[in-house]
Amino acid sequence: MDLHLQFGYGMMDHCRHLVKSWSGGTVILSPRDLERKQLVKLSDEIRALPGGLVLLDPQFYLPRSDHARLTSHDYWPDSYQTNGFFGGPDMHKLMDAVLQLNRDVGAAAFVLPGLLATTIDDDWLGTLRATAERAATMDAGMPLYATVALNAESMRNTAGIQEVLAEFETLNVNGAYLLFEHPNGDYIVQDPIWLANALELSAGLRLLGKTVVVGYANHQLLCLGAASVNAVVSGTWMNVRAFSPDRFRAADEEDQKRKTVWYYDPSSLSEYKPVFLDAALRAGVLAGMAPPAAFGSSYAAALFSGVQPSSVGFGEQDAFRHYLQCLLHQARAARAATFDATVSGLRQVLDSAERQAGMLEKSGVLAGARKFGDGFDPVRSALSALDATRGAMLRRSWATL
């Protein structure tokens, strides 16, 4: 499983740096955050790097959005009527303009506009089909990825997830770009059904031969390696590590307000403020929080230099790059040679992380809002559910996925 970069506030330099550092990588461009000229310019820069690729998410989840920059793009319709939009020339115009933008940015695939599903019903499935069928006639010259954006309630609809899969059986697209709204605004999801359905949808699509890219992901979705997902997408702030449709409803100023720096401890799957790293130093457990050398992250090296971590100037830039560097390594390690080895490996990561987090907590090293804590068991439960429903098929097809 690969890691793509989700563009968001303050991400431009990280994208350039990381794609260069990784000798390749894919950036998912965000019209919400960049104007057309900026999209093209950034894309040119990324694609000029060895192995650099871009995708463009048109972010058409909420057509009645009031987000000024997002709706200023030329593909955004001036007016939107639910009835008839997807069956007529307005949708064709939208698709033509989005395809043109994709061509202008040199996208590696055409991510189709897709509505947020607040209910998985025939109407919403109809929009999925309409865009796919239209795209198939457009001679895009690149793979087609249908957008499946599900709100938190839809993510609990197990029968609805199967309806999406049934639709994809006859949908002429190469892949899917999946977006899952987190319930209750949680960063770490505590609902095993939500996670099981994320795995089920991803695995079902992979077994249909579709490429699957899951956007707005954090380290909890490393479990998608068990569904043989092609890539998860993550970024800097929490709002690009967890899909929140509200972000696309109207502009918010939160991005600029969030200044807390968090250190991601890949061994405990939790994030800590530097002052708690001070506590870790005092308790003699800090060294165990350093990333393994194999992860290749030197961004946080200063934290482990022996001086008070909160005094070494570990800032946002290093924190973000460290997170994404570790996540890249963990994502690539999440999928093993067989389905059983993958699930076993993921369970080992969870068990080990839970032990590590527990040990740190006993030492007074607390992750607060970013602790994985209540996320362990839901992931375990979801992996068991995946094994029960899809295990045999995945076991059999793994080598071809």
Partner: protein, 288 residues
């Protein structure tokens, strides 16, 4: 309709014996001069006339080794009313239901059943026909140990208009064998995967002697609840050392068609791999 009257209508038949009589159907065994042992079915025309015609059509369309061959069909005026009749190959053997009364099948027989049933259903799938009533009563185990599929009376021809009213809350089928989408009459979900569910239940029952959806259920609603909500226990068979058959059966009995193999042909390929692996094990003298 007594036997002398039937014999008079079908002079080419001899040794007529009544085998079964249901609401709309009378079945006789007989000998035919050139076709040998045959079965003569007389299907009374009634409100379900189209369904009867489709059973005949299914029998004619599905030409495969393990479905009795239809030799001839026609119409006949009888004292009870107009009938459609068909004369087909008679399979000497016993129903799987009767066989199961003496216990589960051995592993080799279960594998053979799987291959032969799925092969038959793959032929049906190729003709866009779904049997919709796979169960031990509709399988014959012949004297050579082969399995035959009977009774396409509920068959759904996917290219023909459905005969089950869309507004009906319940579909046709047999509780404890038919999958949720069939019992709930979700017609657009019906395809070859519908039969895969029932085939999985049948394989489980033949391997263990028990149908967990039906056994000791209080009533029909209890069976339906189990089919919709209760996972079939995983098969645990000594001879299935690497769990391959258990894996396949677990996939066949998934609640949603989207979770089963996409086609019967795909399931058959999987089943044949199990057969090959088992044959290798037996040849290597490692069977238990």
């Amino acid at each position: 309709m007594d036997i002398p009257w039937i014999a008079a209508q079908f002079p080419q038949l001899s040794g007529l014996q009544r085998l079964a009589q249901g609401g709309q159907k009378v079945v006789f065994a007989a000998q035919h001069a050139s076709d040998g042992d045959v079965v003569l079915k007389l299907l009374l025309r009634a409100s379900d006339e189209q369904r009867l015609e489709r059973e005949v059509l299914a029998g004619q369309l599905i030409e495969c080794e393990r479905v009795p061959r239809v030799f001839e069909t026609g119409e006949l005026a009888t004292p009870l009313g107009s009938c459609i009749w068909l004369r087909e190959q008679r399979i000497q053997g016993t129903t799987l239901r009767t066989r199961l009364r003496s216990g589960a099948l051995d592993f080799t027989s279960v594998v053979r059943l799987g291959v032969q049933l799925l092969s038959t259903l793959a032929h049906a799938e190729a003709k866009r026909i779904v049997h919709r009533d796979i169960k031990p009563e509709n399988m014959i185990l012949d004297t050579s140990g082969n399995f035959w599929l009977l009774d396409f009376g509920l068959a759904r021809h996917l290219d023909l208009e459905s005969l089950t009213a869309t507004k009906m809350p319940w579909g046709m089928g047999t509780l404890g064998y038919s999958p949720p989408e069939q019992m709930r009459n979700r017609k657009r979900e019906i395809d070859g995967r519908t039969d895969l569910f029932a085939a999985g239940v049948l394989l489980h029952e033949c391997a263990t002697g028990a149908n967990p959806f039906r056994d000791e259920a209080r009533d029909d609603l209890e069976i339906l609840r189990r089919v919709e909500q209760q996972a079939m226990p995983r098969l645990l068979l000594l001879a299935d050392r690497d769990g391959r058959l258990a894996d396949l059966v677990s996939v066949l009995v998934q609640k949603f068609p989207t979770q089963r193999p996409r086609t019967v042909a795909e399931a058959l390929t999987w089943m044949r791999e199990i057969e090959s692996a088992h044959a290798g094990t037996v040849a290597g003298g490692r069977t238990v």
